[in-house]
Symmetry: C2
Subunit: 240 residues, 2 copies
């Protein structure tokens, strides 16, 4: 049995304000819930329609009916499991390797895809400007496919971080140097800009090297989507 107030509380966590107030977020689906349970992120409570889908059953796992799970869910077609987790403390940014910095990424799908890319390419720290979409937004979590459990995501002022880090700063621009022929350092900060406006002027002035992905199509082509561009640049960094 799930009481109404629990359902109301879980639904409230779909809003960023309530997530911050309570220090908790909601993840849905067995893949992501299981990856979070296997990580350092602490679970508050897990609700599922079938206990057998979990590797381990702990005290805070509760079996619920499909209709109750549906009431808690943000999805049109809820999966069999939903977990409420504590938002982890932001860790130290790992400055021994490349760091990705996002300057006001607004689309949840883009942020989720970039988190998944960082995981694939072994980037441990992702720095997000304060106006970047919240990484505990349900649509971001969905797009990460569980990768969020393995990436240290830090919301902070990017230019402050750049000053403190003393690492070389690369930024993705439309008019930068050809990334294929540029020497890339062993470590650095890669700034990716907002979907519509690109990298802000404030960060452009602290960028050491502007890089671009060569274009092979017609000149009228729109820029690449920011998640596609991140995929290509991280691939260029790691393949060398």
């Amino acid at each position: 049995m799930v009481v109404k107030s629990q359902i109301k509380f879980i639904k409230s966590l779909q809003q960023k304000k309530c997530r911050i107030q309570n220090g908790m977020f909601v993840a849905e689906g067995i893949k992501i819930v299981q990856e979070l349970l296997n990580s350092n992120i602490k679970a508050h409570r897990i609700y599922c329609t079938d206990l057998e889908i979990l590797d381990d059953i702990t005290d805070n796992v509760q079996q619920v009916s499909e209709s109750d799970l549906k009431k808690m869910s943000s999805l049109k077609t809820p999966s069999a499991i939903l977990g409420v987790f504590y938002i982890p403390k932001q860790g130290e940014i790992d400055c021994t390797d490349w760091v990705v910095a996002l300057d006001d990424i607004r689309d949840p799908g883009n942020l989720g895809t970039i988190i998944r890319l960082c995981d694939w390419f072994g980037i441990h720290s992702l720095v997000c400007s304060p106006y970047t979409v919240d990484c505990y937004n349900p649509k971001v979590l969905q797009a990460t496919m569980g990768s969020i459990a393995r990436i240290n995501i830090v919301y902070t002022d990017i230019s402050d971080f750049i000053k403190r880090s003393k690492m070389p700063v690369y930024g993705a621009f439309m008019d930068g140097l050809n990334i294929y022929s540029e020497n890339l350092q062993k470590k650095g900060i890669l700034i990716m800009g907002n979907e519509a406006k690109g990298i802000s002027q404030e960060l452009e002035v602290v960028t050491d090297k502007k890089v671009s992905i060569p274009q092979f199509g017609a000149n009228s082509t729109e820029s690449l989507n920011v998640a596609s561009a991140t995929a290509i640049i991280l691939n260029e960094i790691r393949r060398r």
Copy 2:
């Protein structure tokens, strides 16, 4: 003045069945409408709240009120323009260069992003299996950012096409050869598989070379998103 039946007709084009019946589709937003108007795709009718946003005003442009445009729109926040266009005839597949073939891509955002990637990397023909999401779906169009006007998209049986084309066939697999060190032909077919199931067995058996993108993160990492993987592989093909 827009009559009710016009609004009803435009709304109906949000469904694939009605698009096929009428041979028309709807695009929204000045960027994509203007790119379609500049292309070979024929316009049926353009509705906009402000005529000045268009480069040229032709007979089939009609000024409408914001509230009428809102009634036609599939968007929560409609833009100032909406166009009804004729679905173009599928062109000949250009077998003088690389061709991307999509095996049951279901997510509209992924298809839209891949169309945009083809445009960026100068891939002229995109072959889609019959179960791939319709490229005139409003969410696909939105994600293409106008690139759809420049790519020849052909829905057909991929294995039939492979047999006819006699081009070398590459497929993206989790357990393929390292794409960084593989020789790539000057032209070929690149198959990208379904989001959940990957490339079907039917197409796996006609693949000449399986390729993979090396992974640098923990082993537990989920595969890459199919649009990210397409971005990286097209970049590998073109950079050489």
